[in-house]
Amino acid sequence: MSYLTDEPIDTAGLVRRTMRTSDGACVVFEGVVRNQHNGKAVESIFYDAYRPMAEKEIARIVGDIHQQYSDVEIAVVHRLGHLNVGDTSIAIVCTSPHRAESYEASRLLIDRIKQTVPIWKKERGPDGEEWVGWQGR
């Protein structure tokens, strides 16, 4: 299964396909396009990726976290392309018999995905557009 999609993310469907009858807890993280970033207005975002490598990187991260939290079932979907304010860019679903593991796994997953997965975003606003992270180098 692919971790990347060009379509709107169906978070409820993802939860439904992830939950097992032995799970008592489900923690969902959704990253959503905000209307501003560092004080600058944002109207939309274009997400770009090095797709085959991004798939491998996410798979590696999911594998690591699954090894560390073997009770946790994990689903991750990152959307690419043009997104508007309010659109979900990433959904991470963690389900487990008890809640502590799902909270921890969820937090680690998003932190690591943001660190190393080759995905980029170009923010568009009334003042033009820019690739996030490049200007500050």
């Binding site: 990253g31 997400y47 770009d48 990726a49 090095y50 085959p52 490598m53 991004a54 491998k56 990152h78 860019s89 990433i90 998003i110 995905i113 943001k114 660190q115 190393t116 997965v117 080759p118 995905i119 980029w120 975003k121 170009k122 690739w131 996030v132 992270g133 490049w134 500050g136 180098r137």
Partner: protein, 81 residues
């Protein structure tokens, strides 16, 4: 030998292409490719430190020696999530 270069995000905008093939001498390192891009594109001239580098879809050190047919991509600061 030849390697295939992939350009993403800001680097695609700056170079105006999404991929190219580059002929290299044996023993060329990944960071050397970055420096030849800096010579070609004025907007990259100030970036002495290469960004993260991927060789064949995995992160690699800047001093990695490239081989015939390698797929090389420079990874600007990522911003997924």
């Amino acid at each position: 030998m030849n390697v295939r270069l992939l350009y993403f995000a800001v680097l695609r905008d700056i170079t105006g292409k999404s991929e190219s093939t580059m002929s290299l001498r044996e023993g060329t390192r990944a960071a050397d490719v970055w420096h030849s891009l800096r010579e070609q594109y004025a907007q990259l001239a100030d970036y002495r430190q290469p960004p993260m580098i991927a060789v064949n879809e995995s992160y690699a050190a800047p001093d990695t020696v490239l081989r015939e047919g390698d797929e090389v991509a420079f990874i600007p600061p990522v911003a997924g999530g």
